[in-house]
Symmetry: D2
């Protein structure tokens, strides 16, 4: 067996259908809403998903048993990139963050009862969800050990207390997966536990949705408070005190699917730049014939190819049973910065048109900026990447 990069035919077919679906159906909705999904009416989301189902591209990542197309990570790299060509594509296919990561987590960690109750409607697109981990300073941010929200054992369940911040999709979510400390104290790692909390549970309050630079996540980013929020034992997702471990199940693939989706958007940005460069003239030449423009277009091509190659590498490792810890950190760090460069260059190529809302590049620039912060800022990833490299080399020298 040698290395083979031939794409899986079934996944390629879904990717091709997704490409057409996005162009024929999704882009017009994105345009009409100027890419703002924070306030997208629920019915529009459901309509988009119904259209995706008709187009044969709905829930490509879920097993067939859960109503999906059963495409593995390598195949998802193809399909998610096509979906990500529009900000609304992932929503339409039901592969948007944070739902896509939550589905994966529930499928792997939840009990049968929890799966029926929470995963079933999530996989079908009937509801949305959120993942409540991040806290305002000095709580858990890049450093999960700072986790300050607590879950205290009481008769018949647990009492949640704490403050969450930047909880994507919380507004309108049917339920939240809440990370709370069940042992230890902020600053040491100790034990965390994940809880499934229905919307409307007394003591869980949506304080506000936070105005943000990006606006393409359904439900936006919200601040939540937990004040003696009581949940039953059946709310525990996975094992008590195993929250950090189980979060890993979600984290590595979730950061990789982010890369796949954003890569699609970056490709869209590059297409807009290529179109502009071909159409616009100045200084007696097409823009596409001017060296500095060519340099930006070529750098975009290089960044796109390198991003794609790193994503595929990590996806293969995950499919192959690897942890993907290092490869997804590397992919995430590179791709988050590459898509940022790509959209920025595309906007520069397009000049004042790129600044205007007449095309979507300004919106895209706003959307990709936070990716260098969400799912672990580049600095945190670089820290762990370097630590692993130092360890690997120490082992080599010792051998």
């Amino acid at each position: 067996m040698a290395v083979d990069l031939t794409p899986d035919a079934a996944a390629q077919a879904v990717a091709d259908r997704t490409r057409r679906f996005v162009r024929d159906t999704v882009l017009a909705v994105e345009r009409a809403r100027h890419g703002n999904a924070h306030s997208l009416p629920e019915q529009e989301r459901l309509d988009l998903q119904a259209a995706a189902r008709r187009a044969g591209v709905f829930a490509p990542h879920m097993p067939v048993a859960w109503g999906g197309l059963g495409i593995d990570r390598r195949g998802q790299a193809l399909v998610f990139e096509e979906a990500g060509y529009s900000l609304f594509g992932p929503l339409a296919l039901n592969i948007a963050a944070p739902d896509e990561g939550n589905m994966h987590l529930l499928e792997r960690v939840a009990t049968d009862e929890q799966q029926e109750r929470f995963l079933r409607p999530l996989a079908s697109g009937a509801v949305r969800s959120c993942f409540a981990m991040t806290e305002p300073a000095p709580g858990a941010g890049s450093d999960p050990a700072a986790l300050a929200t607590t879950a205290t054992r009481v008769a018949g369940g647990w009492l949640l207390n704490g403050h969450k911040w930047f909880i994507t999709g919380a507004d309108g979510a049917a339920f939240a997966i809440v990370m709370a400390r069940t042992s230890g104290a902020p600053g040491d790692r100790g034990g965390a536990t994940m809880f499934l909390v229905d919307a409307g549970t007394p003591g869980m309050t949506l304080v506000r949705t936070i105005g943000t630079l990006d606006e393409a996540m359904a439900g936006g980013h919200a601040e939540l408070r937990f004040d003696d929020c009581l949940v039953g034992d059946d709310a525990v997702l996975g094992e008590v005190d195993q929250g950090f471990v189980n979060a890993q199940v979600r984290l590595a693939p979730a950061r990789l699917t982010h890369c796949m989706r954003w890569l699609g958007l970056a490709r869209h940005a590059q297409d807009l730049a290529l179109d502009r460069a071909a159409d616009r003239h100045g200084f007696g030449a097409r823009l596409a014939d001017l060296g500095m423009i060519q340099q930006m277009l070529a750098d975009n091509e290089i960044d796109l190819e390198a991003s794609r190659a790193l994503i595929l590498r990590a996806a293969w490792e995950l499919d192959d049973g690897g942890s993907g810890a290092q490869s997804t950190s590397i992919a995430k760090t590179f791709v988050a910065e590459a898509v940022w460069r790509i959209v920025d260059r595309a906007l520069q190529v397009c000049g004042s048109l790129g600044v205007s809302d007449d095309i979507m590049l300004g919106r895209y620039l706003r959307e990709v900026r936070p990716f260098r912060i969400y799912d672990g800022p580049s600095e945190t990833h670089r820290w762990v990447i370097s630590r692993r490299a130092v360890k690997r080399r120490a082992a080599e020298r010792a051998s």
Copy 2:
């Protein structure tokens, strides 16, 4: 006489007052409007200017005879940076683009009558203005030779016909300075002429204001049409066919004052990052004690200092009677990219807080992005910078 970088005491005093004025008065308004001046009510603008007058910082750039403080370019570097610390500071001091550049142009090129009619109310802040040069493709953009709007000699004046795009401040402006072709054809340089056109002149239509990534310029950016718009001979600003030459009077200083203002905003971004780095802890340390954060903070300091030094160099040259062509191009190219890097790094240091509207960094990022395009994109400036360098060197070799 040796090099002396001691700031002028009078200018420094105005800068100090401006610093206090911005902190005490302007930032709250910026915050309340989240930095959006595209739709700032006229009365708020006038109130801010009245406050600036009371604070002794109004119109620092105008001669005393015109109601200003008579501060030269070197002194403006100090004052404008302080004003630019807030997006609304330049509006308050009546030194915002495009009015500031238009005042300079009118002062230098207009007849006495034109000055009384147009410069007087502009300098006092009673009205706003715009400068109508850029055109949609394939018209004048980075390459002015593509100018397609025409002015045709008719009995009693001129008929303007054409299409303008991205005319900053047009919505609400009392008059426009319109650049139109009076000889030659698009593609060759030929002759252009500037015309002063009152708002409401028949045949001049504001087609729309363009939605844009940035939103801090009063009146936003608009699309204008000229359809047999008749203006009198007294509308000619400067000489017929001397429009490109006279535009140079405006261009070099205008791009430099842009740098001064944006530098202030970049310093504000750095202050936000320094505050966050000092206050936020993670991984057992203050952010300010983590190497990768220190690197970003230090790079910001370096970029700020280099920007300031290049601005001062060009300002001195202008005060000294030089054209400033090369030095302002160099300053503009460097500063536009430096302020972008600075705000971007500051946002990264602040993490999700930086992405949120709880602080203004996301807004600042949006505002500084177009500066790499407005007033000549970086690529155009690099082109002329390299051409001048090649010529200079050729002359050296020949000597």
Copy 3:
């Protein structure tokens, strides 16, 4: 069939043997010569190759029929990287430039007689060769259309006239493959033809070897002159006037194997940095625990992974029968710049030790610098990459 990145077991075994061979045998020779192969005695080269043969790693790229190990491009990516860990590894395995590319060219284009006479001794390592294409200004450099060396039909063969420059390996080569114009004139593409010219042929003169920043290519870089150099009809390699076409056979793979080799050297540089970071203390911590050092180490890891992924992508395409034109240009541009960054960062991590000859980083820095120029400078590759992107997009829009 889905994407599979599992390395071929046979190639992996050769790579593992190569890794040991380089560490056990090659590095000491590199050290003794401080990486200078320009003046490496022929016997040392032959000794290294004999050792490689004993280690079972000689000529991994050649078909078994030619005494090689028959490893395809994907496998070569593994083996060449291991060989490239030392500047002398490729020489030892007989996979150094330009011989490796010349072997490939001869195998694909030469007649049986030519193969016996030229390829046989080259594949066995008995002789070295060179490829004489580049000319001094204003001749063929980045732009092959400028080719000025001519071959004129005469009775019994061809007369070569012209001036070549930067001909790698010419000093000591048994023969040269010479590119000469057989139709058209400099500036238009016209027709070129390749000729096989034995060392010592009257009229072919080695003017000098050129002192260069890099010194690790056997034979260095030389200047050649052709003055009425007469060769027979059997010296024509491929078809008359098909030189540019046949050069493509060599160019795409040759630039890719360059990437593979340099990637190995970059990994070596990173290992030196990792060792130093682990061993050296300052400011109360190991270097490896300082954030700015971690950033450099992490960026090196990312650049290594992205380089490897792009190389593998292009290698697979070549094995799969594709032209590899775009993928090898992208890989070459990215990898040439990435290895430069990697070695530069490694040197910075090592501080004054890195500057000293006590370790090889200064030498490595010198060696990798020209790679951004050799085999097409980055600018030329970016030009073609952007052109292909514009064409691809135009086709998409038309469909």
Copy 4:
């Protein structure tokens, strides 16, 4: 008084003479030695200095009383840049490192007797000197607190013991200024003292000169050992235990004059690139008319201007009596990286010619690389720059 950037006429005159002197006299020597001063015969150095004296440009930085031209830091910025246009210019003018910094230190800190004995011959160019501070790991490098060399009080003087590394100019120096610990232990700051040690003093051994990437410092970089090296009380330079404080006298200006000299070399590199771009054709155009080349040339111009402006800013501060701590750190960090970028781009513009020894760019690239490490690596400077910024901001917030 307002900002004035008009250069001092006297300094400008020396700069103009220096420019001619370098072109007429120095460049030929540099060329003949291919920029290698590590092994420059002493007589050639003395001949160059005699020529500089005849040209009226010798020792521009020294007071007239010491045989110099009495030019202040601002004027030195002009003159040193001109001298630095050639690697051998600073040697000729007697303003090369480390002598130039040592002269300044001796002038400020030494006793009259010490000045007569050490400064007199140094200022006249009769001898060279060195500054022995850096130590091999784990001793003093970027972190001076790690200082391990000790000076122990004994009857009649001090016993020096320790190991020094990378002592520039030690080979051939008439004396060394040695930094040794007189209180405290490695790791805490404690007290250091500077000693003046004549060459040939028993117990001071030159272990070896270290092979390095750079080769343009007279005497190269050496390793020294001190084994019970006895010096008298009159060897103490400054006060006992005040070594770190007095080192500051030397450090800030020394890193700035480094910037001035390297800036000259970078300008030379740019001139070579401009010449090549003007002369070489490809793809139907002059290189100077190709966009990607123009971008490199323009970026070089920008980097040159920004470097010059930051240097002048710091020079003025030093002349004005400021410590220059922050401004010289900022200048050093920026300029060290800028000159590296400039030479690298120039080499890229020149292609294979740039790689060759036919022009000096490869040599220049080697020379400027260590500047990012010498006199404090960029990382150390960024660390202190960020710390000062955090403190400055904290003070602002407190007010």
